[in-house]
Symmetry: C2
Subunit: 443 residues, 2 copies
């Protein structure tokens, strides 16, 4: 099995940033995810940082202090303010160089401790922005349990379409309404036509939902007309974030044929602030297989590496906090848990498929994984699934119920990688809150 | 009827750029479309220009020469190099100010003739770029004759879906593969599964097609969560271009359910270089009506102005030049003609609908109209329609036939507005050429 494990993954590695050694932290020295931050409430420019324990290494400060290798400093220097795209475009080598440099500099006993100490900003004092300019956002549909469950609701006679097991189904989403964790958005207005009604009416969505997804940021792109071979596909992936693909189910049901979801999805999409790099995920790779009886992928989607290590073991969770919970000081409640290793198509397959027709991917493009539901009924990655299409309300611990989201509800996505013999890493929360709908536009 | 006609539309107005007075020109002084150009083969920066006759007014030169009003100069000055977005964001007022200033400066007898003469570049010496950064591209489906004809082929039992007459159907497209007229692109590879085959294979699309559309560039945007009222919707439109939504029909048929077109469309999209402003289109507005028996639009899509002047009378044409025609020195052959006034939904309705859920439009966003086919069989805006799904080849004047596009074929879209009592204006050609497919990626 091809492995890219190195010293930076050593589970014995400890940091002089002591909070990074807490077993519960998302950000041990083995993770080192990249984001875009500034001090909360300041008018500082957003700048790239790397999370370590409860701190952030300010990469602009580290660059100025001479604490980064020349190629990393040069790639960061090429970035436009607040946009990591130029760094992402450099591909794997420079990303690995940053990881090695910070691993060395942040480990216990490092000669760089004094230098890097002066570049730390506490996460408690930080706010985040999108890590890069997102020129393209494509949402895939790689969760077969989700596709089957939702297919049953939209097309009872035909839940999983014949193309599903051959084509990594995807569609283009809207980039302008993507925001970082903490996004609060108004419940969307839209055309609603219950099956029993003759004509649609305009109103606030009554079936507002979340979707539990991962997002893949593209690193190096490809030229128009030049497909990316499956063997090289993962080299074009920069890293992963959590992604909440908020969905208005009533709008979706009425609008989606024949050209797919549009206003049902494009009002808001939330991602977690830290990009967990492909290198950090290295210890959690596993074999990717096809269930017996399922077709093998076409050659342009198949490779030895895909089969040996195409899957990634990431535990995914959805948590909900209602306004009543918040008022009563109650923490969010977990609604479900699933795992990304159940995805039907891999990160590499998404990239190879997206570019097979010559479509040019660009650094900073975001690829959604589609909703990651597990095989069991209680593993639905959306309320649509957990409530069987809104027919069986979810009962919450405080006695409340939910069929779909209500105003003031906060949804938190969480993800963590654990494997015996390796240090666990996390993604940090991806959090979003529903605000009341606006008035319909005046006439 | 609300009218915004003014002195700049006076059909008697003549220019000291004598080629602008040729009745056949696309660019009389009543048009004044905006584009992004440089001298062909130079390493000059692309800069904004306005077409007049066979010349271009270099707006950067005109600004430096002091020939533009202060607000226009300031808006142009705010633009990033090669990107009109900051100018477009200023909305209608600054666009009108530019139009008035150039109309005054370019008319016969203008005191600015000497000054502006020095700012002219011949179109014969120019090459073009996209006029702005296109952050979002949404393709609508407003051609009801196209939707019906294509619906018959994809869903014989159910050609026009129940939502069509209520919802301005649209979906998100890919921005990275949009290019300006002259684009040559490789025939896409994709999964092909003829209805008779059990499994798909990877191969070059055998059913490559064009689609005749108009594209609407968004001027001023809206904030996330703030729908645009139908009464204000057209104020957010900057102007129109021709748009060729190249489509691989075999890929589309296999991939498009349930999430819509993806690789069938995102390999290339071509637009004409000059944006014809909403002001230039003013004389060609007409009443917009619903056919008897069709539902009236919901209130958020309805307004007095929509009904009085929602339609735009633009004659649209598709021309084809095969490699053999080119070798023999034959001009392209016209394949069809239709008119944009037949669109089922207006420009304002597209904008009001797109934002009703709070989705934020951004300056420079591009909205495709969908294929504009006419009501007659010979008015199909794609080969799919003209050949009845590939079953009846089109016979060309030189004895060749086409069911779908072959390598080397050049497709030219053309558009022109004519109305008695007004000066005719044109859009200039939107031209694209099919190159052979690449090899499948090596394994």
């Amino acid at each position: 099995m091809t492995t890219r494990l190195d010293d930076t993954h050593d589970p014995a590695l400890m940091s002089w940033v002591e909070t990074a050694n807490d077993p519960a932290t998302d950000f041990p020295i083995q993770n080192l995810p990249i984001g875009m931050f500034r001090r909360t409430g300041s008018h500082e420019a957003f700048r790239p940082g790397v999370a370590i324990g409860d701190q952030i290494v300010d990469l602009s400060a580290a660059r100025q202090a001479g604490a980064l290798p020349a190629d990393v400093a040069s790639a960061l220097n090429a970035c436009e303010p607040g946009q990591l795209n130029a760094f992402m475009a450099q591909g794997r080598a420079v990303r690995v160089a940053l990881r090695r440099a910070l691993s060395q500099g942040l480990k216990r006993g490092s000669a760089q401790q004094a230098l890097l100490s002066s570049c730390l900003v506490p996460q408690a004092q930080a706010e985040y922005a999108l890590p890069c300019r997102i020129d393209g956002y494509t949402d895939f549909y790689t969760g077969i349990h989700h596709a089957t469950a939702v297919g049953k609701l939209f097309r009872p006679d035909n839940p999983l379409l014949p193309n599903y097991k051959w084509v990594p189904i995807g569609y283009h989403g809207r980039t302008s309404s993507i925001a970082v964790s903490g996004q609060a958005f108004r419940r969307p207005l839209g055309q609603l036509k219950p099956p029993t009604a003759d004509t649609p009416v305009l109103g606030p969505s009554k079936r507002l939902d979340y979707e539990l997804e991962l997002g893949v940021f593209v690193g190096a792109g490809n030229a128009l007309g030049e497909p990316i071979a499956i063997e090289q596909a993962e080299d074009h992936a920069f890293g992963l974030v959590l992604l909440n693909d908020w969905s208005a189910r009533d709008v979706q049901a009425w609008e989606y044929q024949p050209l797919g979801p549009f206003l049902a999805k494009n009002f808001a999409t939330t991602i977690s602030p830290w990009i967990v790099t492909m290198e950090a995920l290295e210890p959690f790779r596993s074999a990717w297989t096809r269930a017996e009886g399922d077709p093998q992928p076409l050659p342009y989607l198949d490779s030895a590496e895909t089969r040996e290590r195409g899957a990634i073991d990431i535990t995914l969770e959805v948590w909900l906090q209602t306004p009543k919970m918040r008022e009563n000081g109650q923490e969010p409640q977990r609604l479900m848990q699933s795992n990304y290793r159940d995805a039907y198509w891999t990160v590499g397959q998404m990239i190879a498929h997206h570019s097979i027709n010559g479509c040019n991917l660009q650094s900073g493009d975001l690829l959604g994984s589609g909703t990651q539901s597990g095989p069991a009924d209680d593993q639905g990655g959306s309320l649509l699934e957990l409530t069987c299409g809104g027919s069986k309300p979810v009962r919450l611990v405080n006695g409340e119920t939910r069929t779909f989201l209500e105003d003031g509800d906060t949804v938190v996505l969480r993800a963590r990688c654990e494997r015996p013999g390796f240090r666990s890493i996390g993604f940090s929360d991806c959090l979003g809150t529903v605000l009341p709908a606006p008035e319909a536009p005046r006439r």
